[in-house]
Symmetry: C2
Subunit: 286 residues, 2 copies
């Protein structure tokens, strides 16, 4: 049996009681280590579980987890994923491959940023499509998420922006030379995401899009969230412009572009506003 | 301190380790009992926690949980919610009221149907706005969720339909006569939801909406989910027409109206298709 077990968002104790029981009785335990991170490292997880963990990096997972599935044919294997196990496409793929090989699977769900974002005070029912904001390079500056934010806003819906994570990536040089040298992990900050969103406005301006038709403006409100679900969780509501220079501390960060706000949402967001006078003015504006 | 603790979706062991530790050390533990249900009853929860639970019904919660907040001023109080604590508006309201009264709050997140729906094989990033389908009465037949499904479909997005729950409701007669008599709990089934969606098509037809412009048709695919996260979880993919006579067993049920399907989503959904020939035809259709 292959168990896909969600670890939730914070530390070792955010696994469910059921998940922990299963981990402790599995003969092999893999830890998916590249789509998200916890606030604690492998050593702390191993100590808490009383189990050695096998790191499952991008290569292992994208190559179909052959070793994982082979083991799961004979014994109980756990595959641990930060957040909910079905948040990312790769894990659906793992379930499909398991099915093809006749390996039974079971999912132990857990909290995910997709619902924990409710801590901002925004109603989960009022979110539209979630977008992913990727780190730009000098030559690769995709911004198709702008259109999704625009489509959500047009319907009055909020947009949760998940921010890019680069773990165990090789530099182009090392990739070309075939060297097994990895770059240090990088996590996009809410400030970087806000800057990128503002840069897209420049592009739109250059394309001749009138300001009134833009999905947001530099002074539109946004909500930056850091370390959601942890004791050090930090939520700030300010303009995109201000967010672009805001330090929310260590990862992971997310950013929300709100749509229409319900009075109760306004009341909650106000608690996180860096400037309440500004916030009240924004909420009064038509 | 007031802890809002998510219980997840299944049974007593779906609480997180952190959540359980907090419940066990709180002096008062409330159980929110009307927006969702677990597969286990109060007695089983009490036995597992080693604590007596105080039931928080709609009246208590909507009257502002004065007793809960009063207690939380002096001692550690836990407020347990099935799923994630911030899935429903009422719990944001509780946090706001706590803030007004100077009561500190902390949220222990957990799985919610909003992310666990990933077990259908549909990608969470491809869901649009979530809708709630309410049980119709003879005189009250709202269907504004039709427009939301239409707007999601237009953008190629899936729609998760949450189905109505009636717990501790009074009949109109008992309400008028002021009697404290409650109706037995009722949970809308995927079949009932599918029938209602089909009835809306009749209304649209009567309004003169051409078939080609409708958000879905009787033979559109849908996914019925029952008891997500539990051992008895059941997922079926068939036409709305077939779903309207499909028995998925005991509650809770949800229904998904898919948008555009990615090849991997098709591969996963196929596992749940009641009729694979039909399913392959539907996926081939333009």
């Amino acid at each position: 049996m292959l168990y896909l077990i969600g670890l939730g968002l914070g530390d070792v104790r955010d696994i469910t009681v059921k998940g922990l029981e299963i981990v402790r009785r599995c003969s092999k335990v893999y830890l998916e280590s590249y789509t998200s991170v916890l606030s604690v490292g492998q050593a702390q997880l191993e100590e808490f579980y009383g189990k050695q963990l096998i790191l499952a990096d991008r290569e292992l997972v994208e190559q179909g987890c052959a070793a994982v599935l082979e083991a799961a044919k004979e014994e109980d294997v756990a595959f641990l994923v930060v957040g909910d196990p079905l948040g990312a496409t790769t894990h659906s793929d793992l379930m499909l491959r398991a099915h093809e090989k006749g390996v039974e699977t079971r999912v132990i769900h857990n909290a995910s940023i997709l619902t924990a974002v409710g801590c901002s005070g925004l109603q989960l029912y009022s979110f539209g499509e979630t977008v992913s904001i990727v780190m730009w390079t000098e030559t690769w500056r995709p911004h198709s998420y702008y259109d999704k934010i625009a489509a959500n806003r047009q319907r009055g819906l909020h947009t949760l922006c998940l921010l890019d994570i680069k773990v165990k990536e090789k530099s182009i040089e090392n990739l070309i030379k075939g060297r097994e040298i990895y770059e240090p992990p990088r996590f996009m900050t809410a400030a970087e995401a806000a800057s990128q969103l503002i840069e897209i406005l420049e592009l739109k301006r250059a394309e001749g899009v009138p300001v009134s038709e833009m999905a947001y403006r530099e002074d539109s409100p946004c909500i930056g969230l850091a370390r959601v679900g942890m004791e050090t969780q930090c939520i700030k509501c300010c303009s995109l412009k201000e967010m672009s220079t805001c330090d929310l501390g260590s990862p992971l960060h997310s950013l929300v572009i709100p749509g229409n706000l319900h009075p109760m949402e306004i009341e909650m967001l106000r608690l996180f506003a860096t400037n309440r006078t500004w916030f009240d003015d924004v909420c009064k504006a038509p």
